[in-house]
Amino acid sequence: MRSPRKSRPFTRGAATAIALAATASLVLTSCGRDESAGADGPSEAIDEGKATGTIDVWAMGTEGDMLQDFSAAFEEANPDATVKVTAIPWDSAHNKIASAIAAGEGPDVSLIGTTWMGEFAEAGGLMATPEDLVDEADFFPGPWGSTEVGGTSYGVPWYVETRVLYYRKDLAEKAGWSEAPQTWDDLKKFATDLHDKAGVDYGISLPPGQVGSWQTMMPFAWSNGAALTNEDGTEYTIDSPEMAEALDYYTSYFKEGLTETRLLDLGELENGFADGTYGSFISGPWHTGLVEDAGVKPDQYAVAPIPGPEGSPGTSFVGGGNLAVLEDSDNADNAWKYVQWLSDPATQQDFYGEVGDLPSVQAAWDTGKLSTDPQLQIFGEQLQSAEAPPAVPTWEQVAAVIDSITEQAAKSDLSSEEAVSQMQSKASSIGTGL
């Protein structure tokens, strides 16, 4: 779906723009960076009145398509304000926002992939969230963490997604499991039983490294108490016994043949889940629709929180999208009012109804379908215990390092301790960029 699963697009156009800027730098060279690129605290509080003027908004994916119509309610409540939404594709969004920041000419508000926050905030492109705009405690803690760069928040979580365990309920029952596994030992036993007693080829499907596999691997590490960076995001702290233990546990599934060591093709997982090749897997909310499309009946499968080492729920990955106001916005106060409106529980619930995005505000889960649907409840429960990747500019690069070394650990006899120490040394030489 639309989660910022991988944001790598970088095209020649943007390279050209940046290259041009760099020529200027060489001609006029005056070396030395200005160290304080971003703000060091919240922006000043905004006034209370109604919003006015034109608010330019960029949004990607389905959100981008739906937001214009959805914003009619905001315009109705603020007759002097006009919201102009431009839908941009996820693929080119990173470039467009980067160019807008470089040029100082962009929208007032933009949807920002959670993993881009560190880079854009550090570049000085995003405005720090004004004091008292929203209450941090209203949001799920993981998503809120994704807005904080070096201790300052640069936006507001808009919608979220988190990863849970999907499993074939009918096959699990056949294997003697009437409920979902709770602990790591349970999960291992569960996968083994699905294979031995229910006849699936692979008890669970885990990605063996490569693009984005950290999103499945890191929940095990987080559940085990590992942390990727120190508190203020200035250093990577990957090399820890907790991380090594989690990696050891994760790679054991590959070594014991409980999961496949190759990358699955698009659609293979869902079809394999339907025909009993794979007994379970870990993924986000969009997979409920995908597996049902592949022919799994709603009563044949179930979701459960990710097992932790000693009990459920473990700590999952949280992704989604944040809303940020750009530093160069000429209508910043009103832009923040719009952001405030979008993060209101009632608005969030309406938006869930229109688009299906899970709300980032906890209160939005207290009423309506979100509070009654048992499947959604699992996601809500998991969101209470979920972590976002560190909001630092170099995270994508370090994530690729983790993916690549996880793959080596899963496929070769590289020990987990050695793997984790390799991750650390590469990550340290890259630095967090803050």
């Binding site: 800027a21 760099a22 020529t23 690129a37 990358l263 080596q408």
Partner: protein
């Protein structure tokens, strides 16, 4: 011949009709007509020159400059603030095991791919040159992969090569061979991509070689035949030497293309398994994506340098003997 006699003829003779016309005097001032033409030429060339300087030469030079700095994506708002780091980016690349690996992958791809592509193209062109019926049909058929979208083709091949249920392994199964996971093995993935690249690219060379073969004079071939030279001998000693410039051209464009290989790996393997199909271009793309603009520029200049050197080498090796 005539050029030799001409100056001598005019030397002794008086200038022809020196008095005719107002501008007849021999002077160094520029003919106004010619000046007008020069101005017109510049005016006509200007749009291109401006576009070229701003959008091609400028960025090329800028990225060269960027490769000597530590510019990162977080510097975009103050590109003047970056540090000049000399050759650091280049030394860092050369000592990076991943960069070495991708260089090796790219070289392997080149060394396997270029001879294979040229060989197949030459064989098919020679075959097509012999037949008269259905020539157009075959030519179009073999050329077709070239005009397809590389991404679409890669996706289709990925399905064909699937471990379970892929067409290739299903066919192998019929004859009792248990096909491997072509794209999931560190040793097979790259050669598999080479095979696909050959299939996709040989069409261009085939057309070029075919055109080259048709310029080989029929009389020489017939003379050789009359002297008793067999088909292979005629091909080896007449057609091939005469195709030399064509072969050179083919080798150069194919090598340049193969050194930059990227899309196939991007779509089919994402550079894996274990980086076995990651190329230099892929590496550069990743570095740009991570925001390491300085390092990425340095990597692309190393690739550029490799392409220039390789092209020079090919010119030297394959240039005609005379």
């Amino acid at each position: 011949m005539s050029t030799v006699t001409e100056p001598r003829k005019s030397e002794g003779a008086p200038r022809p009709r020196p008095t005719k016309g107002k501008s007849g005097t021999p002077s160094r001032t520029v003919n106004p007509m010619r000046r007008q033409q020069a101005v017109a030429a510049w005016v006509l060339a200007l749009p291109f020159m401006v576009l070229f300087l701003v959008f091609t030469a400028g960025p090329v030079l800028a990225s060269l400059g960027m490769s000597f700095t530590d510019m990162r994506s977080t510097d975009i708002r103050s590109p003047l603030g970056v540090e000049f780091v000399g050759l650091d980016n280049f030394t860092q690349l050369i000592s990076d095991p991943l960069f070495r690996k991708v260089t090796l992958n790219t070289l392997l791809y080149l060394l396997l791919g270029v001879p294979l592509t040229m060989g197949v193209a030459l064989a098919v062109a020679a075959g097509l040159n012999q037949i008269n019926r259905f020539k157009g049909f075959f030519r179009v058929g073999f050329y077709l992969p070239v005009v397809t979208s590389i991404v679409a083709v890669s996706v289709v091949w990925k399905f064909l090569l699937r471990d379970r249920g892929g067409l290739v392994n299903t066919v192998l199964d019929l004859v009792g061979i248990d096909g491997p996971g072509w794209l999931d093995s560190t040793s097979l993935a790259l050669p598999t991509l080479v095979v696909m690249a050959v299939w996709r690219n040989f069409g261009t060379l085939m057309v070029i070689f075919l055109a080259g073969m048709q310029t080989v004079p029929r009389e020489i071939l017939e003379a050789a035949e009359a002297d008793g030279a067999g088909g292979w001998a005629r091909f080896r000693y007449i057609t091939l030497p005469m195709l030399r410039p064509t072969l050179l051209f083919g080798a150069v464009i194919t090598s340049i293309g193969y050194l930059q290989f990227f899309e196939e790996a991007y779509v089919m393997t994402k550079g894996g398994p274990l980086d076995s199909t990651r190329s230099v271009t892929y590496f550069t793309y990743d570095q740009f994506g991570y925001g390491n603009y300085g390092l990425a520029s340095a990597a692309s200049y190393l690739l550029f340098l490799a392409i220039v050197l390789l092209t020079l080498l090919q010119f030297r090796l394959l240039r005609s003997k005379d």
